[in-house]
Every structure is written in C-alpha cells, then in structure tokens.
Symmetry: C2
Subunit: 130 residues, 2 copies
C-alpha cells in the first residue's frame, strides 16, 4: 500500500498535480513498486482533507498514462514495468534539473557558485542520502 505519510500539501499549484507528482516521484525513487495497492479515493481524500473528486481526477490521469489500473468496485494498483520506471525517473530528473539550471543562469550564477549554494542547502535538509 502506497504511504502518504511524507506527503505535504502545498499552496502552490493544483492539488491533483501535486498528487500525480508525488506518486511519480515515489515510483522513480523506488519507494513505490509495481502492483502496489493505491489508497482508495475516499480514504486518501479523508487523509489529505480534500474532496474525493480531486483524488479521482489525479488517479484518472495516472490511469490514462498507464501508471495505475482501476477496476470498478475493486481496489486500484500501480502498473509499472522496469521500462516505465526508467522513463518516469529520467523524465523527472531532467525536467526538475532543467528548471533549476535555467533559474541559476537567469540569476547570473556560474556553475561552481551554483554547486557551492547546493552544498550549503543540501546538508541542512532532512531526508535522502547524506
């Protein structure tokens, strides 16, 4: 069963996109595996304090991407083979890093200074490898 304990709802963008990204990141990180049970629409909506329709929208889009499989009346599960995992991982790594690099260049920061900034921030943050 996918855990949403580490999920934090942000004020940033649409909730359904945050949920989609969280699941994709989990798959890419390996913390969410294949044929793993997904929380029901009602259970996750109660846990996050949002509307069931919002969860349904996120799950439906994930299903259209072939990342989860739903059967009417039954529980929903992930459906990701090794190729799909690799594709999702690469997609997230490149898109997130490209956004950050673009920002650093706009701010006129060179690569070494950007690395130094990362070193300062990396250790102060929880989680991940040290």
């Amino acid at each position: 069963m996918i855990s949403f304990e580490e999920f934090v709802l942000e004020d940033d963008g649409p909730i359904y996109l945050q949920i989609i990204k969280y699941i994709k990141q989990g798959i890419a990180a390996g913390t969410i595996g294949n044929q793993e049970e997904v929380p029901s629409r009602r259970a996750l909506s109660a846990l996050l304090g949002v509307n069931p329709n919002t969860i349904q929208k996120a799950y439906h889009m994930l299903e259209e991407e072939g990342i989860i499989v739903s059967r009417s009346g039954a529980k929903s599960f992930t459906s990701v083979d090794d190729d799909a995992i690799a594709r999702i991982r690469r997609e997230l790594l490149v898109s997130d890093t490209t956004v950050w690099v673009k920002s650093m260049k706009l701010l006129g920061v060179n690569r070494d200074d950007a690395f130094e900034l990362v070193r300062q921030i990396w250790n102060d943050m929880a989680g991940g490898e040290e």
Copy 2:
C-alpha cells in the same frame, strides 16, 4: 526601460506570477536596475497578448512589495536599493535551489550524482555564464 524580449509565457502557472518572477529575477540578476522605467500596463498587455488587468495585478503586487512605484497618470519605475536587491536575490536563489534539492532527495539521488546530472544539462543550455 525594462525589456521583455527574453520573456516567454508558459502554460505553467498564473500569468501575473510569471511576470512578477521575471522582474524579480531581472533585478536579482542585475539586468533590471533601480529607477528603471516599467512598460505601461497597456503596452505590456499588447506585447504579451494578455489582458491589461493581468498586468495591473502583477504590478500592483510588486508595488505592495515596494519593488515598483506608480503615480496616477505617470509612468511607473522600479524602486530597489542595494539591500532590496540582495534580499530578492537571496530569496530566489534559496527557494529555487531548495525546491530542486528536495526533488533530488525524493528521487533518491545523492549529491555527487546530482552534480553529475547538472554538468550534463548545464552546457547543453543556452545563456548564462559558461
């Protein structure tokens, strides 16, 4: 006069936030200086193909942050002393980098691998220092 030639309207988030970020990044990068003229609401809306009210919303929020000054009937100008510039620059550097580092940690990427990924992407992108 602030130039919007390099500005590209994305489908991502609200337009007024994109405009605010573009101006803040310009100030932080030094390409937008103090007491520099800002395009009129009507002129910028025509250039970007968006509604004048959307530009007004962005400018109004920038004025509330003390970053631009408007007088009814007259042109609007930036208002950023050295302290303000340093504050905005630090704010953008830290927030953007924190978002990226958080993403790398969620994906289970260690710092050295993250740096290697940046090296691959950095040179393939245009702009900024090499």
